[in-house]
Subunit: 315 residues, 2 copies
């Protein structure tokens, strides 16, 4: 853990390299688990309809499972599947002991109540970590004072993948979170708030910035660690960054680019070129947070299998 | 709402007066509800054993119900009641349409798994607001940007009473939360975190301080609004407070006092005498946050009855 993995040539935190390292660790742990207990972690992936992007994501996840030694079970449904049928499938997977993680690829067709389907997934099989209980636990792991010990691997439920990925990038680039000032820009329940809670559990002093924050740049400039999850192309400018700060860019925004074949390119919420000159370390987009998400999905599935062996989380 | 209720003579926010005002509003609303729909809100209070302090709290709550026109149902159990019997009672109350709120007075005897009993209470009848889902909703009511509207009265579940009380004290003393810098000292899932989430939903820019924060006084001094929920007698000193800031003191600490009849007196987490000279407004201990907790319990019960009429929260 926490060995510096950023390229030594510059100050870029390479998400691809770190995700690769983590997938290697997971592969070893899966092999050890199989050896010691005969158990192979299993991930069920539910895909509805024929969106090309969803099919691509599902394929990537299944391929990643294969590479590390996690069983994957794929369930395809036509786009006119009923909500009841989908929920019945989730319930069946909830009860299946070979399945440690359940992932329903979003978005679902309009006639299906997405949250209703997601809420059916048992929190301890919700490897995406999107169930409200998965979020609530991040505020509940309070152990107080000097005995405080927070370990992502021993939470009762799964923490959401992208926020976990942010924490891993910070720690594996050699940054100690405890005692630092951190700022999270964005307060969605998918990214901003879980990142806030994770940084706080890691004993940073954290401030959350949002669209109603006055003088966001001045607040941001106090931070030793900045996590931007806004959805606004290159909003965070060099003068928002305290010299030497660690900058994690969650944003994925597409901007017009006539020089590119596709006519657009992807940028983050941070003005990368400008901020790179001020930051101590910084993640690029793409190649920063993005690759971490699948790695965390695999790790959650592995942890789910391990928890199953140790008697679950008491629910 | 939000009419100044602090004493005009000085800068003290009088929790007793504000709580009294709120109880008056609840009384009117209960009368209107009865008139319009024939419904009287109902609170079930479960008391186990014969602790004097618990019996006193329960008596206060029941008396407060009577005063505003809320039915109360009291259930006494001997201290050797089984966990199964308690859970069966809670399940019965969950199913009872005359009961809109269920309160299990803590602490429970050692042989009973407290969290197990509390988790049995349906989140929409959990008027104490301690169920993890009640906390999680505070991170989930994200409505984004200019359309953002957050109303404590229309949340799907109940927000915890003491944190709600803090927000009411701030707003009813005439302070607009939106756009302010706020600091919460303490990060418990009972007080600190829900206060953080509520202030954030009200569009403050919020920082959470805890025992691992470096230079807490400097961080605190940035704040226009300070909420202290630490449990350390008079820890927050005048030089922690930005001149003019609003200071809400949740702490209840007993300190030796040979001059008092009991040999001790209650003080907050804030050095009241010192900070009063710097703060714009400040709550005393006792008589600040304390009286608000029961008022918020009554309001949650009333809201529960109203939600029941409008078809519940969709669960
Ligand atoms: N790499 C990955 O794997 C993932 C990347 N993402 C990307 O992360 C970004 C954020 O995603 P998500 O959290 O879902 O987005 P949301 O749209 O749900 O939330 C955006 C947040 O940014 C805040 N915000 C908007 N404008 C400003 C501003 N001018 N100043 C300060 N704050 C502002 C909003 O504030 P308010 O609440 O006041 O409206 C809101 O809290 C997106 O670009 C998304 O594509 C998301 C998930 C995974
Ligand atoms: N008026 C009312 O109705 C109520 C009053 N209270 C009172 O509020 C207070 C807080 O209660 P509760 O939240 O349950 O308490 P907890 O003990 O659960 O939490 C206290 C918090 O304060 C933090 N803390 C401790 N020491 C310091 C320090 N030196 N500097 C900064 N932060 C510190 C702790 O940090 P860490 O996490 O790092 O240990 C912890 O997060 C108590 O006095 C309690 O009696 C509580 C509920 C209702």
């Amino acid at each position: 853990m926490a060995t510096p993995s950023s390229s030594s040539a510059d100050n870029i935190i390479d998400g691809k390299v770190i995700a690769e390292t983590i997938r290697g660790e997971i592969k070893e742990e899966c092999a050890a688990l199989l050896q010691s207990s005969g158990v192979t972690p299993g991930l069920a992936v539910v895909l509805v309809g024929n969106r090309t992007d969803s099919a691509t994501y599902v394929r990537m996840k299944i391929k990643a499972c294969e590479e590390v030694g996690i069983h994957s079970f794929k369930f395809d449904f036509p786009s006119d599947v009923t909500e009841a049928d989908l929920i019945a499938k989730v319930a069946e997977l909830n009860a299946d002991p070979a399945v440690h993680g359940i992932l329903v690829q979003l978005p679902l067709p309009g006639h299906i109540h997405e949250q209703k389907v997601l809420d059916t997934i048992l929190p301890d099989k919700d490897v995406d970590g999107l169930h409200p209980l998965n979020l609530a636990q991040l505020a509940h792991t309070n152990t107080h004072g000097s005995s405080r010990k927070f370990d992502l691997k021993t939470l009762p439920y799964h923490a959401a993948c992208t926020p976990q990925g942010c924490i891993e990038l910070i720690e594996r680039s050699g940054t100690v979170i405890e005692g630092k000032e951190a700022v999270v820009i964005g307060r969605s329940n998918i990214v901003g708030i879980p990142v806030f809670l994770l940084l706080m559990q890691k004993n940073a002093t954290v401030t959350v910035i949002h669209s109603r924050t006055k003088d966001a740049s001045a607040v941001c400039k106090r931070a030793d660690i900045v996590v931007a999850a806004v959805g606004r192309a290159e909003m965070v400018k060099p003068d928002w960054i305290k010299p030497g700060a660690v900058v994690i860019d969650v944003g994925i925004n597409s901007v017009d680019d006539p020089t590119s074949k596709k006519g657009y390119r992807l940028v983050g919420d941070v003005d990368f070129a400008g901020c790179k000159a001020v930051a101590g370390k910084i993640t690029p987009v793409p190649g920063g947070v993005g690759p971490m998400t699948i790695a965390m999905l695999l790790r959650n599935t592995l942890q789910g299998a391990k928890r199953g062996l140790s008697g679950g989380n008491g629910n």
